[in-house]
Amino acid sequence: MNKTVNQKAWLFVLPVLILVAFNAIVPLMTVVNYSVQETFGNNVFFWSGLIWFEDVLTSERFHASLGRQLFFTFSILAIEIPLGIVIALAMPRKGIWVSVCLVLMAMPLLIPWNVVGSMWNIFALPDIGLLGKTLNTLGFDYNYTRQPSDAWFTLILMDVWHWTSLVVLLAYAGLVSIPDAYYQAAKIDGASSWAVFRYIQLPKMKRVLTIAILLRFMDSFNIYTEPSVLTGGGPGNSTTLLSIDLVKIALGQFDLGPAAAMSLVYFLIILLASWVFYTLMTRDEEN
């Protein structure tokens, strides 16, 4: 659509701008403020320069959390995106079953995150949970509160359970928008089902899949409630992701300076990655 240039449009944006600026800039400046100061209590602060940033960037604890975070994010992306596409392809296109599938699949998305954590906590308990008991009966030595590998398995399974539906719904929305004529043309040409997928369905889903990857990347990087309820970051520190570590430092130990510096580094990482995605996405649109 060709848009007209109109500077008065700023007036329309003003309410959003005021609300979001109040909510985003004031707190963000508070964080920036803490990140360059040192305090010994009593609300007395000293300028401390960039030492907190040096601390964070060189601290092994941060590197370890970041490493776990990256492992988590890439694992769930590698599972949820292909799985979501496969399920969307296999879904019915017409009839009553469409509604049934969509409603049931959207269920996990609307459950409060702490309830998702509690639910999986109960579901995976080794002695009285359905999943834990079943695995142990089958001969696996499964206990997610003791063994780090089991904790990771549960955590990733929980996230796949929670968020694959988002990918399915997005991919499905892309698929149903393909006109029937495309499929008929492919049929006349005698295209294999792989060719239909590769040259018709995948290109048509590209936009929605970019949104899916972007949303899943941002949200999995921000994930806090579900793992903190499920494992609390344990056993030991084995599932302490970035947010959990940050809350431990900021609200647990009240180390405001280091927590603030870590917040900013953390936010910048997400921002940078999302900006790259966003630029790629909009550049493709313009072409």
């Binding site: 659509m1 848009k3 007209t4 240039v5 109109n6 500077q7 008065k8 449009a9 329309f12 944006v13 309410p15 959003v16 609300l19 979001v20 985003a24 004031v26 707190p27 508070t30 399920i87 296999a90 879904m91 969509l102 409603v103 049931l104 699949m105 269920m107 996990p108 998305l109 609307l110 409060p112 995150w113 702490n114 309830v115 509690s118 639910m119 109960i122 579901f123 009285i128 359905l130 359970w161 399915v168 719904l169 997005l170 929305a173 892309g174 928008s177 936009r207 929605v208 949104i211 941002m218 806090y224 409630t225 309820v229 947010s243 940050l246 900021a250 917040s263 936010f267 997400i270 999302s274």
Partner: protein, 266 residues
């Protein structure tokens, strides 16, 4: 092979339902049964857990509080996002692209980063522990999302609609309320659905910004889980009840869900 493709979504749905089934079935069990034995369905069916929730004000107030702040947030987010989305979809102005991306960055902000500063800011202006505080805090990520969704839907409406209305003598406010809003009502429904969803499921900010008067149900649950030993049945019942509002909302928007998730621009 085609004949068996329905198995894939079917298996997936069974996988989705298993933990939910376990939660619901546990909510009907007695504590003795939960801890004493492994049973696939409740042997001694009891409604005791639900009775506790519906008679104890600390429990049921949690639900009321959650619903109040989620509603305030949804109305507020959609109301301010409407004109902004219109501006983004119709006009070009200085800094429009940067502004749009800046709005989206707030959707990316980790709640953990903002928890403490929000607490201080809202305490300073005296709205700590009110429904408004949580509703305002949630606009941080819901307004950008609402603008993004609505902009997608509005871009799908041809500009001729606006022009015809002006020729017919409609003033802008009249056109916007009488013609434009009804035209994109499905977009508004989808945006409201997403605002409801993200405000309803969020816990960290809601918990940090409230103490007693506006405490959300999620915070009541986490407190129960940690303080009064391990009342799994009660916890399961409270969890089951939090699924119901979501299920109702999904049922109403079921026909728009697929389109809404694509943000109206496939």
């Amino acid at each position: 092979m085609r004949r068996y493709t329905w198995l894939i979504p079917a298996i997936y749905i069974v996988f989705l339902m298993l933990p939910i089934y376990w939660l619901v079935s546990m909510s009907f069990k007695t504590t003795n049964e939960i801890l004493g034995s492994f049973t696939l369905w409740p042997r001694e069916f009891t409604l005791e857990n639900y009775v506790t929730i519906f008679t104890d004000p600390t429990w049921y107030n949690g639900y009321i509080n959650s619903i109040i702040y989620v509603s305030i947030n949804t109305v507020l987010s959609v109301a301010v996002a409407l004109p902004a989305a219109y501006a983004f979809s119709r006009y070009r102005f200085i800094g429009d692209k940067h502004l749009f991306f800046w709005l989206l960055t707030n959707r990316m902000a980790p709640a953990a980063v903002f928890a403490l500063p929000f607490f201080q800011l809202y305490s300073a202006i005296g709205i700590f522990d009110t429904h408004l505080a949580v509703a305002l805090a949630h606009t941080l990520f819901n307004i950008p999302l609402a603008v993004w969704i609505l902009e997608g839907f509005m871009s799908g409406v041809p500009k001729q609609l606006d022009e015809t209305a002006y020729i017919d003598g409609y003033s802008f406010p009249k056109f916007f309320v009488k013609i434009f809003i009804p035209t994109i009502s499905s977009g508004i429904g989808v945006a409201a659905f997403f605002c409801f969803m993200f405000s309803w499921v969020e816990l960290l900010l809601a918990k940090t910004l409230t103490a007693v008067a506006a405490k959300p149900i999620a915070a009541t649950m986490t407190k129960t889980a940690s303080s009064s030993g391990y009342e799994l049945g009660l916890l399961a019942a409270a969890g089951t009840l939090t699924i119901i509002p979501g299920a109702i909302v999904i049922y109403f928007v079921r026909n728009y869900i697929a389109k809404g998730f694509a943000l109206g621009r496939v």
